[in-house]
């Protein structure tokens, strides 16, 4: 079946702009995760959804970052007033229940100029 998909694959934006990154999880997976991977580093946890609710948002770096999952499927990561330090690959993962293997998407490469 189809894996986790993320759009866009690449996003270039100017400092100060607003961006939205989309994640389509595997159908039926209740758990959805966002990670951020900076150059030369491993992925860093941002937020975890169980169904429609954010069960753990402890990894969001500040209030410019926000994520939603209104119908318990697709999720959108929103970044306001982007800064050059936000440049990274944003990864989405889903798992059947939250206690299973996480399946990763291909990522969105965000570049803030």
């Amino acid at each position: 079946g189809a894996g986790v998909s993320q759009t866009p694959s690449n996003k270039v934006t100017e400092k100060g702009k607003y961006v939205e990154l989309r994640c389509d999880p595997i159908s039926g997976h209740t758990a959805l995760y966002w990670y951020r991977q900076s150059l030369g580093q491993g992925p860093e946890f941002l937020i975890y959804f169980q169904g429609t609710g954010a069960a753990d948002d402890s990894g969001l770096p500040n209030d410019r970052f926000f994520a939603v999952r209104p119908e318990g499927s697709v999720s959108t990561l929103k970044i306001q007033r982007t800064e050059r330090g936000d440049s990274a690959v944003y990864l989405c993962a889903s798992s059947p229940t939250g206690y299973d293997e996480q399946y990763f998407g291909p990522g969105t490469r965000l570049t803030v100029t």
Binding site: Y33, G40, G42, D56, Q102
Partner: protein, 110 residues
């Protein structure tokens, strides 16, 4: 605090030689440990997890709680093993958000 350390950013071995990728962790409870792999132009995928005790693609990893290590080993490296390898941990207390190490790039020379 949860932390995963992979001391080698780069590791290069010859085909047929043994491979060991090091991973050390710090965690106050009982963690679950994983190895993830990313082949060139592919997405991150699970290689193995310590609770399953499986050998995947000839790789094994043993959790050593005394040394807080979870090193990945393979007795005879193959060229297709060249990839980026990440060690990760999660806690049993909650849902499995993952804490990753910085990764080791493994290159197998012919």
């Amino acid at each position: 605090a949860q932390r995963v350390t992979q001391p080698e950013k780069l590791l290069s071995v010859f085909k047929g030689a043994p491979v060991e990728l090091k991973c050390n962790y710090s965690y106050s409870g009982s963690p679950e440990l994983f190895w993830y792999v990313q082949y060139s132009r592919q997405r991150l995928q699970l290689l193995l997890r310590h609770i399953s005790r499986e050998s995947i693609k000839g790789f094994t990893a043993d959790l050593n709680k005394g040394e807080t290590s979870f090193h990945l080993k393979k007795p005879f490296a193959q060229e297709e093993d060249s990839a980026m390898y990440y060690c990760a941990l999660s806690g049993f207390e909650g849902a499995q958000k993952l804490v990753f190490g910085q990764g080791t790039r493994l290159t197998i020379n012919p």
